[in-house]
């Protein structure tokens, strides 16, 4: 599964520009699903039909990552940028940006680096150009952070673990699933980082009875972290609450019961900042029972998001277990 993860996290795909990620997932899912389509907002919807008598379940993992957009190019060829989603400002200085066509640029700031920028307006990118005319990028061009996938012991590090690791878990669950009574719609969603907008329309279109987002969550296991009980390596997290939504109590129970049945480690999660696709899915139409399977992740929204590989494998097992049996709570 590591090859799949590497391929996904290194792909280019800021919100609204998820095409390269979608192409990878579509190729992997081809032949393993009953139906694959892309909707008007770019969501990739992969249907695995059940044997009948089950529920219509939507799984949502977002393809998009946070990124940057060029807003202005000055006389000397330096480009100014705006953010796509919640970029961690402090991590930009000295990083590199990568554009859809592979162009690489250096990120820096007016304060000469040492303390990082105070605002995004103080950041610029250097493409090596000396004037607007020879700039390889133009206003409106989109970049992701350039950072390769690495293995650190049992832990995996990269940009865009949020939420390609969720895409990898959902995709692997699709491949591993055997017989199931449920019709499962695996949605690889767009524009989560700018307001969970892909999942919003996918849920309206699919009208699922139950939905589970697969996304990353923060941890409380790094130096001076705020009180939060989630740790790397202690298993997938079952969301109870985040800043955007309360998980449906039934969905939470279903996830916990499945983990216990399969003797998988799990953690319960209360997150005070951030949310997931489940936030917009829950209030679609006349209401959908929605929850979230979270993969504990350190340094979220930085270029070095870290997950534990065993947590990833256990997340796949948990998801497969949930989808393969009749839904009950």
């Amino acid at each position: 599964m590591k090859d799949l993860i590497k391929k996904l996290v290194e792909a280019f795909g800021p919100s609204g520009y998820e095409d390269q990620v979608r192409a990878i997932i579509q190729a992997e899912a081809a032949g393993k699903a009953d139906e694959i389509r892309t909707d008007n907002l770019g969501n990739l919807i992969v249907l695995k039909k059940g044997s009948g008598g089950g529920e219509r379940i939507m799984i949502s993992a977002h393809m998009d990552e946070i990124g940057l957009m060029v807003s202005y190019i000055d006389k000397k060829g330096f480009a100014r940028i705006g953010n796509i989603g919640g970029i961690a400002l402090a991590t930009l200085t000295g990083s590199r940006a990568r554009f859809a066509d592979g162009t690489i640029a250096v990120l820096y700031n007016e304060k000469d680096g040492w303390m990082g920028p105070g605002t995004l307006a103080e950041c610029f990118i250097d493409t090596g150009a000396t004037s607007p005319e020879d700039s390889p990028v133009k206003v409106g061009d989109v970049a992701c952070i350039h950072r390769p996938f690495e293995e650190l012991g049992g832990r995996l590090v990269s940009k865009a673990m949020d939420d390609r690791i969720g895409c990898a878990v959902a995709l692997q669950a699709l491949l591993d699933m055997a017989e199931s009574p449920n019709d499962v719609y695996f949605v690889f969603s767009t524009q989560e980082e700018v307001g969970c907008r892909g999942a919003m329309v996918a849920a309206f279109g699919i009208e699922p009875e139950v939905a589970v987002a697969v996304d990353v969550t923060l941890t409380g296991d790094i130096p001076l972290a705020k009180p939060m009980s989630v740790e790397l390596g202690k298993g997938p997290a079952v969301k109870v609450k985040d800043a955007g939504m309360l998980a449906h109590p039934g969905v939470k129970k279903w996830m916990v019961a499945t983990a216990e049945k399969l003797a998988l480690p799990y953690q319960l999660e209360v997150l005070t900042g951030g949310t997931t696709d489940a936030y917009t899915i829950q209030t679609s139409r006349d209401g959908i029972a929605a929850g979230c399977l979270s993969i504990p992740t350190r340094y979220v929204h930085s270029p070095s998001e870290m997950v534990d590989y065993n947590d990833v494998l256990n997340s796949v097992k948990l998801l497969v277990g949930m989808l393969s049996a009749p839904v009950s709570w």
Binding site: G220, K226, P227, M228, S229, V240, K241, G244, M245, L246, A247, H248, P249, K252, Q267, L268, E269, V270, T272, Q282, T283, R285, D286, G287, I288, A289
Partner: protein, 357 residues
């Protein structure tokens, strides 16, 4: 209906956003005789339907909404046997120190929110409210037992006895918006002895405090012709200026602003005038922050009004109000509904009734 008794029961029940079951049961029991059908939707809204009766149902419908959920606490970590919490909905954390709570663990556990003695605080700390990360709950139980009985994500409600003050004033937790729910019950009871030709969906909504979730999905599901949200408004009190507040014991306040359809506003005002029900005005130039804000933009848009029952000390456990304001709100809605006719439907440009959802 004994409004005080109903409010007492509603107030003392636990029903944090997303977990409103106990309140739902109480509401259902209270309004059972006055509704034709009951339904609980996927997210937990309780929908009580009274079909229009006189002369015949027109197929037009009104949705009333008041939220059952309350703000509260949720366990996010447990350190050394002391649960640490964060809020569900916008609790005023400055009011938490020294409160009694109920921890809804494997069983309900009494607890208190402890604090450091003032004697050991630095002068700077003494001046500041205690931040979330420093708040903890003491159940009196040893660490091992706490770990067994309390899990991450368990809910914690404030424990507060309902208190009758003098001259019709009452005080307790969660009048926001159980007072609104009580006003729906008053309204339905009155309607049971009135004629009304429109269908009434009285919805006790869930998760208002965490983003108007219940009203959003209920309005979509029911697709009513018009809607009224009942919530609480800032009652006059020391420290809140007159232009930020409404008067106590002076009837509900009818919101004026973009959330309220002008013809709904006019019809409600006229109804209050006609039946001599005291009605105040409340200027809300932007988002009302109530279920009405969600109802208005459901589907292709729903003419909506917002009524506020005057309430002091909002989002604390000593919310205070006058019981008559609840009854006046219920009565105004009942008389408004009883007066709904084809002329009003035409005024709003409604086509034939949308029919039952």
């Amino acid at each position: 209906m004994d409004t005080v008794a109903l409010l007492r029961k509603l107030s003392q029940a636990s029903g944090i956003s997303g977990y409103e079951g106990e309140v739902r049961d109480i509401v259902r029991q209270a309004i059972e005789p006055f509704a034709d059908e009951f339904r609980t939707d996927t997210l937990g809204n309780l929908i009580a339907t009274r079909r229009g009766t006189e002369p015949v149902s027109t197929g037009h419908s009104i949705m009333l909404a008041a939220h059952m959920d309350e703000i509260g606490l949720i366990v996010k970590d447990i350190k050394d046997g002391f649960p640490r919490v964060t809020d569900v909905g916008g609790i005023d954390y400055r009011t938490l120190l020294g409160q009694e709570v109920i921890v809804h663990g494997q069983r309900d556990l009494p607890g208190v929110i402890g604090s450091r003695p003032p004697h050991v605080l630095s002068a700077a700390d003494y001046e500041k409210p205690v931040p979330w990360d420093m708040l903890f709950i003491d159940t009196g139980l040893p660490q091992e037992t706490v770990t067994q009985l309390v899990h991450i994500g368990d809910l914690v409600t404030l424990r507060r006895e309902f208190l009758e003050l003098s001259e019709g004033y009452v005080s307790g937790k969660t009048f926001d918006d159980r007072a609104g729910v009580a006003s729906l019950a008053v309204c339905l009871e009155l309607l049971a002895s009135m004629k009304h030709s429109w269908d009434v969906y009285a919805v006790s909504t869930i998760q208002e405090e965490t983003g108007l979730k219940g009203a959003t999905v209920a309005a979509f599901g029911l697709n009513p012709d018009i809607g009224i949200a009942v919530d609480v408004g800032f009652g006059a009190q020391p420290g809140v200026s007159e232009n930020e507040s409404i008067k106590m014991n002076a009837g509900p306040a009818l919101a004026i602003g973009p959330n309220v359809h002008p013809r709904m506003q006019a019809r409600l005002s006229a109804t209050a005038d006609k039946f001599e029900i005291p009605l105040q005005k409340e200027v809300i130039p932007g988002g009302s922050g109530t279920d009405g804000w969600a109802i208005q933009v459901a589907r292709s848009g729903i003419p909506t009004a917002v009524l506020s029952i005057p309430l002091r000390y909002m989002h604390t456990s000593v919310e205070t109000m006058h019981i008559k304001d609840i009854e006046r709100t219920g009565r105004l809605m009942a008389l408004f509904i009883s007066g709904l006719d084809d002329a009003f439907a035409n005024e709003l440009g409604l086509e034939g009734g949308k029919g039952a959802a």
